[in-house]
């Protein structure tokens, strides 16, 4: 039986889709942040770090050609992200933890979720789903070994596509750095929101 396989060019196009999906999610988080005037917490920002790192791994596959090492970057980043998302979900499931004070309590509390829900799920629960999908997708991509063979000459359109994908990623990364600096400065970030001058004005 002939193996079903994936050409390096097609694998790069799939990675472009992955980069764009991660960028769309990060921009969606911005839209949520500014429409609800909700300043992201430390764990929320760490999930964004993980999403940006996943996108960077996919962008390496896109720009430099597919490599198991770059899929490894995606997998490690997604594992980090899912760990943070599960931790934050557990904080809000546990009734013996007061999210207002950030302290454990012996009395069961209502323990409200952090922020508004989107399509029925809170953002950190979406985080668990998204990172699980990334892990599955990266693992499935690793089944196809033909993508790692040296590619023939790169088509011009693919080179342009790679530059567009990486440039878009760079813009979002720079934007995240700037807004995080405005929120946190160079020190620790405030937990449980807290208005800052740049979002309250």
């Amino acid at each position: 039986m002939k193996d079903v396989d994936l050409s390096p060019d097609f694998a790069r196009v799939l990675n472009f889709v992955g980069v764009m999906a991660m960028i769309a999610i990060l921009l969606g988080a911005y839209a949520y942040q500014f429409s609800y005037r909700d300043v992201p917490c430390t764990l929320c920002l760490l999930q964004r770090v993980a999403m940006l790192a996943v996108a960077t791994g996919a962008a390496m596959n896109l720009m430099l050609g597919p490599s198991p090492r770059y899929y490894g970057v995606c997998l490690v980043s997604a594992l980090f992200g899912i760990g943070i998302s599960i931790r934050q979900s557990l904080l809000h499931i546990n009734p013996f933890f007061d999210t207002k004070t950030g302290e454990p309590t012996l009395e069961a509390t209502a323990n409200p979720p952090f922020g508004e829900s989107v399509m029925g799920l809170n953002l950190y629960v979406w985080g668990v789903v998204i990172f699980a999908v990334v892990i599955l997708a990266a693992a499935v991509m690793l089944f196809f070994q033909d993508q790692f063979k040296p590619a023939r000459r790169e088509p011009k359109w693919l080179g342009r596509l790679a530059v567009v994908g990486v440039a878009a990623l760079l813009v979002v990364a720079a934007l995240e750095t700037l807004t995080t600096f405005l929120e946190c400065g160079l020190g620790d970030c405030p937990n449980n929101g807290g208005w800052t001058w740049w979002i309250a004005s």
Binding site: L46, A53, A173, E176, T177, D188
Partner: protein
């Protein structure tokens, strides 16, 4: 710390855009950003109290 983490990822993206050839700096910076993320996470968790209670 968080700003630095995003900054590392931005530099990694910039290196990727500027240098088409494979460079170990790109993925090393991503891993450094994740390591910094783990440090921030560990700093954020109060291991002496609430983690024990949750588990």
């Amino acid at each position: 710390m968080m700003t630095l983490t995003f900054g590392l990822l931005t530099i990694s993206g910039l290196l990727l855009l500027l240098r088409r050839g494979a460079t170990p700096w790109g993925w090393a910076l991503v891993l450094a950003a994740l390591a910094l993320g783990v440090v921030i996470f560990a700093h954020d968790v109060d291991f002496s109290s609430n983690l024990g209670l949750q588990l």
